[in-house]
Amino acid sequence: MATQASRTAGRLMLSPAVVLLFLWMIVPLAMTIYFSFLRYNLLMPGTEEWAGFDNYHYFFTDPAFWPALVNTLTLVIGVLVITVVGGVALAVLLDQPMWGQGIVRILVIAPFLVMPSVSALVWKNMLMNPVNGLFAAMARGLGLPPYDFFADAPLASIILIVAWQWLPFATLILLTAMQSLDQEQMEAAEMDGAGVFWRFWHLTIPHLMRAITVVVLIQTIFLLSVFAEILVTTNGGPGTASTTLTFLVYVQSMLQFDVGLGSAGGIVAVILANIVAIFLMRMIGKNLET
């Protein structure tokens, strides 16, 4: 892409894709913004009228709004902490030469390939169920009363499930980063008398910073929209204990058939996601520069 002509040709050839992607993104967004300013309830078709900021007003004053906001952030941060710490630990372990490395690595990736609703159901019915679940059986085996995860710690349980799903992704990205760590650097540090932990903190972790940043940024995008796991397990409850913004939007637009209110919630969620993204880029984006 050196000459003026080839640059122009390049732009021309790219433009259909760019235009398509742009429309793909901008049309739904524009429609959502438009709907968010309408009084638009599916139960009363034909009565759509301009509502100004009413929908936003209702959304913000909804008693579930603040809990949902807090829950969303708790979910995102909780899952990020677990996956990054666990991912680094697993990456370090999997990077060691060992017997059956290939199979172990595939097994580690497996959770990522399970559909969210399926894995949530497995956790709900086979592991965390207070009557039939594996954890309850283990608790009984130890003579303890079984713990009702979804009743007593709904958000923590969901965080656990989502973290389990995303751990493979973090591990995979961190493992590839791990493998590009210069072995000679480690050996030099070893000869200079640096211990294992020192090498981990001062050589491995700085080397992984870029990969950790990628993991955090990508996961945040997806974690802000976690939905299936909540729907399948707690349905946002008990009360609003596990309702996130995404789930709140669903409750309002689907269960209450209020498209206008739901759209307003959607726009709020988009704005929140952007705020989080700006924060993240400010905080850790510099790790992506070379």
Partner: protein, 331 residues
Amino acid sequence: MGEIVLSKVMKSFGGVEIIKGIDLTIADGEFVVFVGPSGCGKSTLLRLIAGLEDVTSGTIAIDGRDATDLPPAKRGLAMVFQSYALYPHMSVRKNIAFPLRMAGLPAAEQQRKVEAAAKILNLTPYLERRPGQLSGGQRQRVAIGRAIVREPAAFLFDEPLSNLDAALRVSMRQEISELHQSLKTTMIYVTHDQVEAMTMADKIVVLNAGRIEQVGSPLDLYRSPANLFVAGFIGSPKMNFVEGAEAAKNGAHTLGIRPEHIDVTADGPWSGTVGICEHLGSDTFLKVEVAGVGTINVRAGGEVPLHHGDPIRLTPQPDKFHRFDSAGQAA
């Protein structure tokens, strides 16, 4: 201070013997170069000495102490890696001070030594930079600086100059030689560049397939190679090997003649045709097809007005012949 004695050192990787029994004594203050073809085990041998690999059998003694089972940090050796192995997120100052910090030296003492090393290596203006902001030669000097400050019993270099361009290689080569002159510390230097080996070494160790072929001073190896391998490996262009009638006439199974020991004369005993002709100005390298002898490389001094296809007569210098028996050993 830095005597290193290897006895019967062997190393296998997964059942494959890579180092096949090495006995070698490196005297204190000596500059020893390991040369050999790629894959012969030079790096492995160096890593065994450094303690980065465990020996399969045999012993390594440093300063008269058995160091076979000592961890690398306890051996008192410093290594300079081919990839420099600098710590990328530390400044040059911190990189050089690193081994001192690990040894728990007071900060003032660290700084004094770092400044001194930086001065020797002309790194003072770069002390606050990161390794990523340095050129290859500067990085190499930082790596050497990090080794110097430890005041090790011996320095180990694994092809430290192979990532540098030709001109820089020559100047770094001289810097390392000067460093050796001023520090008088034992240095072990791995290379496959025989010019580096010849110019820097007090003693060259020629390795082949995990064995020592010959140990000696550069000129020893040049003048009296012990076998065909060393004869072919040391010297550039390569020594000519002549077999058959011509060799038998001189009482050898294989006759070795260095290209620089063949003269272009008007009435020489060998007559042939010039093949490839490389005019370098200072020298002219000729590939000559000699009837009844084979292809012979000739190094003629200065400019020689010969070209492809010209007839030529050659006179080998009989007093410079190397004679080898049928087992390839010098006779």
